[in-house]
C-alpha cells in the first residue's frame, strides 16, 4: 500500500477518535465554543488530507460535515441532537470507509452510496450549500441539447448494438481551438468506437461571415469502452462531454406498477446481487446469483427474451441484467433529503478480524506501533552493550588456545555468560516495553458504545473509566476488545435496571458501570463492575439444569457464588434469551475461552440486588512463559507453570482404583490420576523410583485438579514459547515449542486438551 495512504488511514483513525470524544463532550455542553472549534479543526484536517487521494465521495462527505460545523461555530446554527447524531454517523461511515481502504485500497459502491446519502443529510441540516465553490460545477446534460433527429439516429444505432454501450455527446466550446485543442483528434482516438456522427450547424451561416476558428461541430458516438476509460479519455474536456449508458435491452423493459417500499426492497435485492457479482469467483456462487436475479426478473415481469439471458454463469451478462434492473428500479427523483435513508448505523468500529485459532489471535496485527523514542533508545543502548559483550568471546577463545587452565576457562565463561544473560534479559524487557500499549486503545470506544446502547434501552448509565493509562502487551489489549464489549453489553442489557425499577429499589436512577484496569504482580487486572440487579443464582441453576448442563444433585450442593459460575458453561446462553444486543447467543464461555487463550483467567462475583463484578487477569507479557520441564517415556516435555499446583512423590500402593480410574487422596481431596504416557498414546508404563514412588504432577484443568503421572520432574524455566503454525496448529495438545539451551526442541503441553 502507498505509504502516504497508510499514513492517512492512521492519522484519520486517530482523528475520528478525537471527533467521537468531542461530540460526546459537546452533547453535555452544547455551548462550549472551544470544543466546537476543536472539532472543526479535526474534521477540516481529515478533509484536507483526503483531498490527496481520489476518493470524491469521502471528501465530499467530510466536506459536508465541515461546512455544518463551520455554520455552527459562526452561530448560524445550533448544535442539537440531530446534528450530533448525523456527525456520529459520519464517524461510523468514515470508519467503515477507512477499514475498506485498509483492506482493499479502494472504496466500493456500498461505501460510496452510504457517503452520498449522508452528505445529503448533512447538507440538509445546514444551509444546504457548499461553503466554498471548489466542489462540482453543475453538470450540463448535453443530450438534452441534441436535435431530435440526431437523438433518434443515436437511439437507432444503439438499438442495433448487440450489447450495452456508452453514448457520448461531445460539444466542444467555441474557443477551444485557441486552447490548442483538436476535438476531431480526440474523437478519432476515442476508445471502443462503434458508431460516430459529426454534426454541423444546419444551415451554415453565410460563408463570408463564418469564423473558421470558432468550433461549431458536435460529436455523437457510441462506444464499447467502459465508463472509466471514456472519462479518462475526455478528462480534459469533461464538462463538454456527457455520457449515458444505453442498453438495447432497455427498450424491452417496462416495469409494472408497484408501491415505493416494494420498489425499494427489490432494488436493494438487485444491488446486493450486483455487489456480490464483483466477488463471485466460483461457479456455484454465480449460479446462486443468477437464481436470485431470475426470481427478481419474474417479480419485475421481464419479457421472456431477457429472462432467458439469465440462464448463464457469465459475469458480464449477469452484471448487465442486474444493472438494467437496478436502473429501472431507481426511486422516483423526489427530494427526500433528511429522512433516515439507507445509511446503516454502525454501533462499533469494525473489530479486528480473527485469524485461525492458533493460540493468540493474529488480529489485524500488521498495523503500526506508536512508540516513545526513549524506549527505542534504550534498546539501542542495550544492543550496543551486547555487541561489546560478544566481542569478548574471540579474546577468550584466543586465551584458551594459549593454554588457559580449565578452571580459569570455566570461570571466565561463566562470567561472560552472566554478562550476556543480563543484557539479554534487559533487551527482552526493552522490546516488551515497546510492545506495550495503554488500555485506552480499547477503553476509549466504550463511552460511545455505552451511550448508544443506554439510549436504545432507555436506561441511564454513567460510565466510569479508571486506569486508561495501564499498559499491557499490544496483542493482549487488542484481543481483549471483543470480550470486554460482550461483558459490557451484558451489564447494560441484563444487569442494569431501567430507571423506575432502580428508584423503586431505592437506588439512584442512574446506574453506574465501572471499567477499570490496573497492573498487579500477577499481571494486568481488568474489572467490569455494575450496580445493577446482580445474577440470580436460583435462576442460573434452574436454567443450567433445564439445559442438562449439570445434574440436579450437584446443582443443589452449590453455594450461591458457585452457582453464578455456571454461566460460564458452554451452551448456557442460547437463542431464546438473545436480545438485540448481548448477541447472537454468544455466551460467557466464549469470553472465558478468549481470556484463557491469552493465558489469563476470569472470575465472576455477583451480589443479588446489588451488582456484578467480573475480573479478568492477564499476563503482562505474551512472550515469555514459565514452564516446568518433565520427563516421560524417555522424552522431555514442558508444562506451563501456571497450571501446576504441586509436585508429589506418591507411593505406588496409595493408588486406589475406582471403576478402573486410578485415584489417590492428596491433601484431603480425591484426585483422579492419569498417566501422561497413556494420554499421549505412548505405550510405556510410568517409571517408579527406588522407593516405589510415582512422580505425580498435580495440575489444574479448568475447575478440577488432576494428577498427571510422569517419570520425573525437573526445574522450571523461562522460555519463549512459539505456538504451532500451519497444519500443526490444529494439534491442540501442545501449546507450542521452545528451544532449549542445548539446541533441542521442547514440546510444551496444553493440559486442558489432554483430557
Amino acid at each position: 500500500m502507498n505509504p502516504v495512504l497508510r499514513q492517512f488511514l492512521t492519522e484519520s483513525s486517530e482523528g475520528l477518535e478525537r471527533v467521537t470524544a468531542l461530540l460526546l463532550a459537546l452533547e453535555r455542553e452544547p455551548d462550549n465554543l472551544a470544543l466546537v472549534n476543536d472539532l472543526f479543526r479535526v474534521v477540516h484536517t481529515i478533509k484536507g488530507n483526503s483531498g490527496l487521494f481520489d476518493f470524491p465521495a469521502l471528501t465530499q462527505m467530510v466536506h459536508a460535515g465541515e461546512d455544518l460545523l463551520d455554520e455552527i461555530r459562526d452561530g448560524l446554527r445550533s448544535l442539537d441532537t440531530a446534528v450530533v447524531e448525523a456527525l456520529l454517523t459520519l464517524v461510523d461511515v468514515l470508519h467503515a470507509m477507512l477499514d475498506e481502504l485498509a483492506d482493499q485500497d479502494e472504496l466500493g459502491v456500498t461505501q460510496n452510496d452510504a457517503a452520498q446519502a449522508l452528505t445529503q443529510r448533512l447538507r440538509a441540516l445546514g444551509s444546504g450549500e457548499a461553503r466554498d465553490n471548489s466542489s462540482a460545477v453543475p453538470r450540463i446534460d448535453h443530450f438534452l441539447a441534441l436535435p431530435s433527429d440526431a437523438r433518434a439516429r443515436l437511439d437507432e444505432a444503439a438499438a442495433g448494438m448487440s450489447q450495452a454501450v456508452w453514448a457520448v455527446v461531445y460539444e466542444p466550446e467555441p474557443q477551444c481551438f485557441f486552447k490548442g485543442e483538436d476535438p476531431l483528434l480526440l474523437v478519432r482516438e476515442m476508445p471502443g468506437t462503434a458508431w460516430l456522427e459529426i454534426l454541423a450547424p444546419e444551415p451554415w451561416a453565410a460563408l463570408e461571415s463564418i469564423d473558421p476558428f470558432q468550433c461549431q461541430l458536435r460529436f455523437l458516438a457510441l462506444s464499447h469502452a467502459d465508463e472509466a476509460a471514456l472519462q479518462a479519455h475526455f478528462r480534459c474536456v469533461s464538462e463538454q462531454v456527457s455520457l449515458q449508458r444505453v442498453d438495447p435491452w432497455q427498450a424491452l423493459l417496462t416495469l409494472p406498477e408497484m408501491p415505493d417500499n416494494r420498489r425499494a426492497g427489490l432494488r436493494s435485492l438487485a444491488q446486493a446481487q450486483r455487489d456480490a457479482l464483483a466477488h463471485a469467483a466460483e461457479a456455484g456462487h454465480r449460479r446462486a446469483i443468477a437464481m436470485a436475479l431470475k426470481m427478481l426478473a419474474t417479480q419485475l415481469q421481464l419479457p421472456e427474451v431477457l429472462q432467458e439471458q439469465l440462464d448463464t454463469e457469465e459475469v458480464e451478462t449477469l452484471a448487465r441484467l442486474a444493472d438494467l434492473m437496478l436502473a429501472a428500479l431507481q426511486p422516483p427523483p423526489v427530494n427526500e433529503v433528511g429522512s433516515a435513508g439507507p445509511v446503516t448505523s454502525f454501533a462499533l468500529p469494525a473489530t479486528a478480524k480473527k485469524g485461525a485459532d492458533t493460540g493468540i489471535d493474529a488480529a489485524r496485527a500488521g498495523t503500526l506501533l506508536r512508540v516513545e523514542q526513549g524506549k527505542v533508545d534504550r534498546l539501542m543502548e542495550l544492543v550496543g552493550e551486547m555487541v561489546v559483550a560478544k566481542n569478548a568471546l574471540p579474546y577468550l577463545a584466543q586465551r584458551a588456545e594459549q593454554g588457559l587452565s580449565t578452571r580459569e576457562l570455566v570461570r571466565d565463561i561463566k562470567a561472560l555468560h552472566a554478562n550476556i544473560n543480563r543484557i539479554a534479559e534487559e533487551m527482552q524487557d526493552a522490546v516488551m516495553q515497546i510492545r506495550m500499549v495503554t488500555m485506552s486503545t480499547v477503553m476509549q470506544r466504550f463511552p460511545r458504545l455505552v451511550r448508544d446502547i443506554a439510549n436504545k434501552l432507555d436506561k441511564q448509565v454513567r460510565l466510569e473509566l479508571v486506569g486508561e493509562d495501564t499498559e499491557a502487551d499490544k496483542t493482549i489489549v487488542e484481543a481483549l476488545a471483543d470480550p470486554l464489549i460482550h461483558v459490557v453489553r451484558n451489564s447494560l442489557d441484563h444487569g442494569l435496571e431501567p430507571p423506575d425499577e432502580r428508584v423503586a429499589k431505592g437506588k439512584p436512577a442512574e446506574g453506574t458501570l465501572r471499567l477499570s484496569a490496573s497492573q498487579q504482580t500477577e499481571g494486568v487486572v481488568i474489572e467490569v463492575r455494575d450496580d445493577g440487579r446482580g445474577i440470580d443464582p436460583d435462576r442460573v441453576v434452574a436454567k443450567a439444569v433445564a439445559k442438562g448442563l449439570i445434574d440436579p444433585e450437584r446443582a443443589a450442593a452449590l453455594t450461591p457464588q458457585q452457582a453464578v459460575q455456571l454461566v460460564f458453561l458452554p451452551g448456557f446462553s442460547t437463542a431464546e434469551q438473545v436480545s438485540d444486543l448481548s448477541g447472537r447467543g454468544v455466551g460467557m464461555d466464549v469470553v472465558r475461552s478468549a481470556v484463557e487463550r491469552l493465558r489469563g483467567k476470569v472470575e465472576l462475583q455477583s451480589f443479588a440486588g446489588q451488582g456484578t463484578l467480573l475480573r479478568m487477569t492477564l499476563p503482562l507479557s505474551v512472550a515469555v512463559s514459565n514452564v516446568m520441564l518433565i520427563r516421560s517415556a524417555g522424552q522431555a516435555f514442558g508444562i506451563p507453570m501456571d497450571c501446576v499446583v504441586e509436585t508429589v512423590r506418591l507411593p505406588a500402593d496409595q493408588v486406589r482404583l475406582i471403576k478402573d480410574q486410578g485415584t489417590a487422596v492428596l491433601r484431603g481431596r480425591l484426585v483422579p490420576l492419569h498417566g501422561l504416557n497413556q494420554l499421549l498414546g505412548l505405550n510405556t508404563p510410568p517409571i517408579r523410583n527406588e522407593e516405589n514412588e510415582l512422580a505425580v504432577l498435580l495440575i489444574r484443568v479448568g475447575a478440577d485438579t488432576v494428577g498427571l503421572i510422569v517419570d520425573d520432574f525437573e526445574s522450571a524455566m523461562d522460555l519463549i514459547l512459539k505456538p504451532f503454525e500451519g497444519v500443526l496448529a490444529q494439534l491442540g495438545t501442545y501449546a507450542g515449542t521452545a528451544l532449549l539451551g542445548d539446541g533441542s526442541v521442547l514440546m510444551v503441553l496444553n493440559p486442558k486438551e489432554l483430557f
Partner: protein
Amino acid sequence: MTILFDEKHATLDGHCRVDEAEGLLNWALAHPRAGVRMATCTHLHAAILQTLLAVALPLLDEPQHPDVCRLLTAAGYRFPSPEGTPT
C-alpha cells in the same frame, strides 16, 4: 504537411493544421467551382473539417487513410467504400 492550391483543386496532403483553415476558406470563396482532393491526407484539424463542411465543395477522390475515411463518413461524406472503411 499542408494544403496545396491550384486553380481547380485544393489538395490536402498529410496532416492539415488549424492555421490553414482561414486560407482554405478564403480560397474556397474565390473558387466556388473547385474540388477537394484528400487521397494523401492523414489527419485534418477540426477547423479544417468544419471549413470543408461549410464550403461544401465536392470531394474528388477518397482518402486512403482509413481513419480519415471514417471521420469523413461520420461527417456525412459519401464515397464508394475502399477496403478499410469501418462501420
